[in-house]
Amino acid sequence: MKYALDFTWLWDSMGALASGAAVTLLLIACTTVFGLIISILGAAARRGRSVWLRKLVGAYVEIIRNTPFLVQLFFIFFGLPSIGVRLDPMVAAILAMTLNMAAYTIEVVGAGLDAVPRGQREAATALGMRPRLAFIKVVLPQALAIIYPALTSQIIIMMLESAVVSQISVRELAQEADLLQARTFRSFETYLVVTFIYLGLSAAVRRGMILFGRRTLGAAVK
């Protein structure tokens, strides 16, 4: 028996696929913002004075890095309700993705902060900036420019990994694919199309990040 590929279902499904892709982009956008904030705090804690805090952040990084994302997701979505924390699938997905990505970006952000010469902060303080302002206006943008390529890769890896949040029925791209193939019985074609949409999304996110970086952080971004 010869199997004939059939893509006629595709035209009616464009809307569903587009909304799935939009949810995927929304998930990764939220994750990037929250993940960066946690990474900056985590990197600061790792360099801070409190031994306990340093150890705590270190343990968090090791635990997340050495367990699968899918298990973390199930633990948060199915496990936490039994101790009274009930989360909406979307919130659970963003929480799991944020915690996962931050464990990787804490080190990246930390390395970026270390790479900014001390003189930059000293000069900013000498100009009369408060330490916090000097950090936000002077040190952080330079650190982000240095780590920008690594950060972009991490964001794309996380976006691809976010396909598994379909398992807790978040209506993102992979979940739309599951629903479509259940309706059309064209599993292979559906996953083929969706795989290429993901490929397009990773290329688009990479380009978009470069454009955004050039605009906000200057020409140093490659």
């Binding site: 050495n66 298990v71 199930f74 199915f78 039994s82 598994v164 996953y191 083929l192 969706v194």
Partner: protein, 215 residues
């Protein structure tokens, strides 16, 4: 509802861990073999082979592993192969691993000084001998740390095989959870088991990295 003691749960999970380990080993071995083929294409003098190699790597690194697994699961039967979750998982993870390993080793090959390959050709070795005797052994040695690091990633990735219905650690955990309704305990234990598998390897990779930095 069935009563499960902690020991019952743990015992079942540990039995299932065997499949996680086996799947990781099979995918790593398969990935290494296919990865060497892709590496050859990637560093070949022929332009079309290099293009193919980098396209292959970009394809597998730019799409979700879950989609790759689904494509294996639904695609291989179209070629007339009877397929079970185990085969689909091994094939999918093999191709996934091959792309990453080829890329790691390519970086290793490119990090070697040019003189190595020039010296090899001046000794009269032809291309294959040069790769086998001079280039690859050195490239494999200097990339040991990232390869072990990738093995950790691969072990974690085997959890996705549960979605295809392969009875590894996480799938077993789902089944136990459906019977006991103790997700906190069950998924907590799964996380601990994965941690115990991965953490020593992470430490080993770190040690190798430290060694490489000193050399």
């Amino acid at each position: 509802m069935i009563e499960f003691t902690l020991w019952d749960i743990l015992r079942n999970l540990l039995f299932a861990t065997r499949w996680t380990v086996l799947l990781s080993a099979a995918a790593f071995a398969g990935g290494a073999i296919v990865g060497i083929a892709i590496l050859f294409a990637r560093i070949s003098p022929a332009k079309w082979a290099r293009r193919f190699g980098s396209g292959y790597i970009a394809l597998f690194q730019g799409t979700p592993l879950l989609m790759q697994l689904f494509l294996m699961f639904f695609g291989l039967p179209m070629l007339g192969l009877r397929i079970e979750p185990w085969t689909a998982a091994v094939c999918g993870l093999t191709f996934y691993a091959s792309a990453y390993l080829a890329e790691i080793w390519r970086a290793g090959v490119e990090a070697l000084p040019r003189g190595q390959s020039e010296a090899a050709s001046s000794l009269g070795l032809h291309r294959l001998q040069e790769l086998r005797l001079v280039i690859l052994p050195q490239a494999f040695t200097i990339t040991r740390a990232p390869v072990v690091g990738f093995l950790v990633q691969l072990i974690k990735s085997t959890a996705l095989a549960s979605i295809l219905g392969f009875e590894e650690l996480l799938k077993t955990a789902n089944a136990i959870n459906n019977a006991t309704f103790e997700p906190f305990k069950v998924y907590g234990l799964v996380a601990i088991i994965f941690f115990l598998l991965c953490y020593p390897l992470t430490q080993y990779a770190r040690m190798l990295e430290g060694k490489a930095a000193f050399r």
